[in-house]
């Protein structure tokens, strides 16, 4: 239906030579380059784009600016896409939402007929009894609730990105005010970010033919030309970064603006923010004001000017303000016949545009009231009561709602600016900015081009700190006050009649339902909102917040300041969660030996940011190598802290339940750290490498916390201690197995004999010509050496060890084998076998506590816990039979859980399943039979096991000391 297209040059964004095919609900449609989904469908004669949320009423384009719920569609599996701001692309499949079986015949539209049985709060009141039926209710409600369907198989072509920008000035809104402010600030040398949600700059100028006055750069130009002029000036200003198609969704503390730009989330941190978010028309209230073909006048003009689409042939303009007359003139200029203009005001002086409107043959009905819209899937006219009280119906296929535009104050309110109810405007506006946030343009209630431009230029200077404190600013404020005083009186709010005057299109809330809520006592707008869900839909209150406030005040017969407003919260516009989440910009950390593991065929696992070899293909063989010959494992990810200084030993004593100041130089001690509640935070080792110098190792994941913990206690201490994180500086390799000494002795001149380097000795010296710290420790049950060497020489050391160990059958082993071997020794892993309730005694580490000291962190708590006696303790168990219980499985007695498994593995060495579990103290005795549930769920089978309190492998610890 080509007749819905306006002739060239209408359609600023159109590329008429390009034709694009797509589908809507299975039917083929063709649009032009530059069309949005909604404009292409409008040009093709599609009036109904969706069904409403509750009553399933047909809905069509309303705002054409992405600010209402009417055109939310599913595009290739992505739900809730705004059709009016989403460009068409070849082959996309667009589907309507909330309609079954089809948009045309939607069975749930029956709810529209039964609205008397669906009063406000219907769901709260109805589906609460009988309680046992809730599962059934829930199933049904879940099917009909929600908007759009998430297709978990769909893989939308979404590549979310994050950008971080810093600017001296962020300007939100690219209309005339925003552009002029940005130009002024940039001209003064500031770096400016200009954010605008349109495809091109200019804001409302793009859809108004009326010429501008005021600023010489644009005065005398018709709107679209002025918009182009401003866009060119912005493009020529290198200090402005312009973000097109970008919506500022929130303003946060510290001058942070969150911006959704397609699939990119931009965070702009600005010293000052200039808000120029404009004003917008909102629906007029009358019965059936939601019929397709009833649009905001600005929406009609957007379709005409941006996309060359004639939204209808014969229009009626509904207004309560001079603005309606200006819009009527614009519609006529855009080639749309205006049959009538209905101005609800009586006896007002007609504005300048009246002459144009009357000359076009438009019927003028002043003091008239719109009673109802006629027509179902498209409006066919309005029923009107004229000033003398008679009623008549005016035929039209288009209704242009052009009530006084509402300042868009959402971001201003979020930024913490107080909103003031300005009686002359009958609107809430931020009358003044703050030190960091400046407000300009139509959002401050201004209409006059000249005042807007002058204010914008002043704001641009203010934003760069050039405060025109005296003359200019004061004179401007006086002129603004004068302009407010000269405004025509605001029209009073008339409560509409009829069954369905919709206030909230998202949630289908009518004035009737709001009245019912007020009668039930929900007098405050905040509670009424929660009860009726008005303002809570996808448009985030854009279309309904003002109307709901006006209607509620009128119903209660109180002032607008009494009912107030609801809190404005981000996001201003719905944003896909994927865009908010964005990519995770975590680093991947590789050890210095990564390439060696890769070459050896490692299977990788993630441990924090680190990549570690889980195994090299055969865990049992890796375990065997360690027990029978020699193995080596990369333990570089262990945290390593160099703690030194005059009071280093005393400091470590203070932070641990055990002691280190009495450790001899060249010796190593196991450490476990507790907090003041006596809970284990971390464990590792401490090696004393010098009189005032200790090497402290921590768990891989706990390094950051332990480092922070040490520094925190130092922050309020006079102790002379320096803590340096040397984790990345040193690689570490644990060489373990009965032949470990044979391998090591081939690479060093140090005395590594059993008496020369005893268990828990530390030495520094050359190994394979690399300066190395050798710690004779290990947790895998065999003779072992932990070799710490500079990271850049670690690969050489690894190669040397592999070469020297070849004749003994050396083999690298991974984390999985290490865990099996540790478990054979019943070495608990802090964080795996312990949690936020584990104290050292419970975790069978009571032996390390040296309590005979005046103070250490956790001292009093550990003493109190000791007095109370142990409740649950960590103990070993072995399975009778071959089943391996899951980690987290319950230990049960008489069907009730009494404990839990924290580690469990199949030990190839012992040929049985072993593990660690928390059990009541009275059950943690050798040979006690216990029952373990195999799955982690409620049902499932159980298997018998027995308690083993001593290490499974080499309980006397002879091998590690050999």
């Amino acid at each position: 239906m080509a007749d819905r297209r306006l002739p060239d040059p209408a359609g600023d964004e159109l590329r008429r030579s390009e034709s694009i095919e797509f589908r809507f609900d299975g039917r083929r449609h063709t649009g032009l380059g530059g069309d949005t989904i909604a404009s292409a469908l409008a040009a093709d004669g599609v009036d109904v784009l969706s069904r409403s949320f509750k009553y399933h009423r047909p809905r069509g384009v309303l705002c054409a600016a992405g600010s209402c719920p009417n055109c939310l569609v599913d595009v290739d599996g992505e739900p809730n896409v705004r059709a009016c701001v989403t460009p068409i692309s070849p082959g996309i499949r667009v589907r309507s939402q909330n309609a079954w079986p089809s948009l045309r015949r939607d069975l749930l539209s029956l709810t529209d007929r039964f609205d008397r049985f669906l009063p406000i709060g219907f769901y709260y009141k109805t589906f609460i009894r009988p309680r046992r039926l809730w599962p059934l209710y829930e199933g049904v409600l879940r099917r009909i609730a929600g908007l759009g369907r998430i297709d978990i198989r769909a893989r939308p072509d979404l590549h979310p990105r994050k950008r971080h920008l810093h600017a001296e000035v962020a300007v939100i809104g690219g209309g005339p005010a925003g552009c002029l402010a940005a130009l002024e600030a940039a001209g003064a040398g500031a770096r400016v970010v200009l954010v605008d949600d349109g495809t091109r700059l200019g804001g409302h100028l793009r859809t108004r033919t009326r010429t501008l006055d005021g600023d010489p750069r644009i005065a005398g130009l018709p709107g679209p030309e002025a918009a182009r002029r401003l866009a060119n000036l912005v493009a020529a200003e290198p200090r402005i970064e312009y973000l097109p198609g970008a919506t500022a969704i929130g303003i946060y503390d510290g001058g942070l603006v969150g911006i959704a730009q397609g699939s990119t989330f931009v965070r702009v941190r600005a010293r000052r923010i200039v808000l120029a978010t404009g004003a917008a028309e909102r629906p007029a209230l009358f019965d059936a004001n939601d019929r397709p073909g009833i649009m905001l006048a600005s929406g009609i003009l957007r379709l005409a000017h941006l996309h060359g689409v004639r939204a209808g042939r014969r229009a009626i303009v509904v207004t309560d303000d001079d603005h309606g007359w200006r819009q009527a003139a614009e519609l006529i200029a855009a080639g749309i016949e205006v049959a009538a203009i209905i101005d609800t005001r009586t006896a007002t002086a007609e504005p300048a545009e009246a002459a144009t409107v009357r000359a076009a043959g438009t019927d003028v009905l002043a003091g008239a009231t719109v009673l109802a819209a006629v027509g179902r899937s498209r409006v066919t006219g309005l029923r009107v009561r004229v000033e003398d009280g008679t009623e008549r119906t005016i035929a039209a296929d288009l209704v242009a709602m052009a009530t006084r535009p509402e300042p868009v104050v959402t971001l201003a309110a979020q930024a913490g600016l107080p909103l003031v109810f300005e009686e002359r405007l009958a609107e809430w506006v931020p009358l003044a900015g703050s030190a960091d946030v400046i407000v300009i343009g139509q959002m401050t209630g201004l209409v006059d081009d000249g005042l807007i431009a002058a204010g914008a230029v002043l704001a641009g200077r203010l934003a760069v700190g050039r405060d025109q404190a005296g003359g200019a600013a004061t004179r401007h404020r006086e002129r603004v006050a004068g302009a407010f005083a000269a405004l025509p009186d605001p029209a009073p709010t008339a409560l509409p009649v009829g069954r369905k005057p919709f206030v909230c299109l998202c949630e289908d809330v009518t004035t009737k339902e709001l009245a019912q809520g007020v009668r039930e006592g929900f007098a405050s707008l905040e509670t009424l909102k929660r009860y009726s869900t008005v303002t809570m839909g996808p448009c985030q209150g854009k279309q309904c917040h003002g109307n709901a406030a006006r209607v509620t005040a009128a119903m209660r017969g109180v002032s607008r300041t009494t009912t107030g407003l609801t809190t404005y919260r981000p996001p201003v516009q719905p944003v896909p969660l994927a865009v908010l989440a964005g990519p995770h910009l975590n680093p991947v950390r590789r050890t210095a030996l990564h390439d060696r593991h890769e070459a050896a065929g490692a299977t990788w696992m993630d441990m924090g940011d680190w990549k570690r070899p889980l195994h090299y293909g055969d865990v049992a063989a890796e375990c065997r190598a360690v027990h029978e010959r020699v193995g080596l494992i990369d333990v570089s990810t262990l945290g390593k802290l160099d703690v030194r200084g005059r009071h280093a030993g005393e400091f470590l004593d203070w932070l641990h339940p055990n002691r280190f100041s009495d450790l001899r130089v060249g010796r190593i001690r196991y450490r476990a750290m507790t907090d003041d509640a006596g809970i284990i935070l971390d464990d590792g080792t401490v090696a004393r490498l010098g009189e005032d110098r200790y090497l402290v190792t921590t768990g891989t994941g706990s390094l950051d916390a332990v480092d922070g913990w040490l520094r925190w206690w130092l922050a309020t201490s006079d102790r002379r201690v320096d803590v340096t994180n040397v984790t990345a500086r040193f690689a570490a390799i644990n060489l373990a197995g009965p032949r470990a000494r044979d391998v090591l002795s081939r690479l060093t001149d140090l005395d590594v004999s059993p008496d020369g380097l005893r268990y828990l000795d530390a030495r520094e010296g050359l190994v394979a010509d690399v300066q190395t710290v050798i710690l004779r420790i290990g947790f895998v049950g065999e003779l072992a050496y932990e070799l710490h060497a500079p990271a850049d020489q670690a690969a050489h050391l690894w190669d040397a060890l592999m070469a020297a160990g070849a004749e003994f059958g050396i083999r690298p082993f991974g984390v999985e084998a290490q865990r099996v071997l540790r478990l054979e020794k019943q070495h608990a892993i802090v964080g795996q076998d312990t949690d936020a309730l584990s104290d050292p005694r419970g975790a069978s580490m009571g032996w390390l506590i040296k309590a005979d000291r005046p103070d250490f962190i956790g001292r009093d708590a550990i003493a109190a816990l000791a007095e109370r006696g142990p409740r649950d303790v960590l103990t070993g168990f072995e399975m009778i039979g071959t089943a391996v219980p899951a980690e987290g499985a319950a230990v049960v007695r008489d069907g009730r859980p009494i404990g839990r498994v924290t580690s469990s593995k199949w030990s190839p060495t012992l040929s049985r399943a072993i593990g660690l579990a928390w059990l009541p103290a009275e059950d943690a005795v050798e040979d006690r039979p216990i029952t373990i549930r195999l799955g982690t769920g409620r049902g499932g089978s159980t298997a018998p096991a027995v308690v083993r309190t001593k290490p499974f492998y080499d309980p006397a610890g002879e091998r590690v000391r050999s």
Partner: protein
């Protein structure tokens, strides 16, 4: 939560760079009652007003410092390695 905090060493940075370390408190002396320890470990003032708290510049210089911040507005009033409580306005020690 996106306010800037001025690290005494690095200057103003996004709060995501920091770890919050809790209200500034005085640790009970050894041998204090369980009630005192319990208060220290678990009870927080959680003031709607000016709070004196520890902050750790985790992704920066890794220094701990104290900041006085209005919890209602997230305005950071002053920072220092350690701050002494002022006569009025500041949160009392726990």
């Amino acid at each position: 939560m996106s306010f800037l905090i001025g690290c005494p060493l690095c200057g103003p940075r996004d709060n995501a760079e920091y770890r919050y370390g809790g209200e500034v408190q005085t640790r009970p002396s050894p041998g204090s009652s369980e009630a005192d320890w319990s208060t220290y470990l678990y009870d927080r003032q959680n003031v709607a007003g000016v709070e004196r708290a520890w902050w750790f510049h985790r992704s920066g210089c890794r220094r701990w410092f104290q900041a006085e911040r209005d919890t209602r507005t997230n305005e950071v009033i002053r920072v220092g390695w350690t701050l002494t409580a002022r006569a009025t306005g500041a949160a009392a020690d726990g």
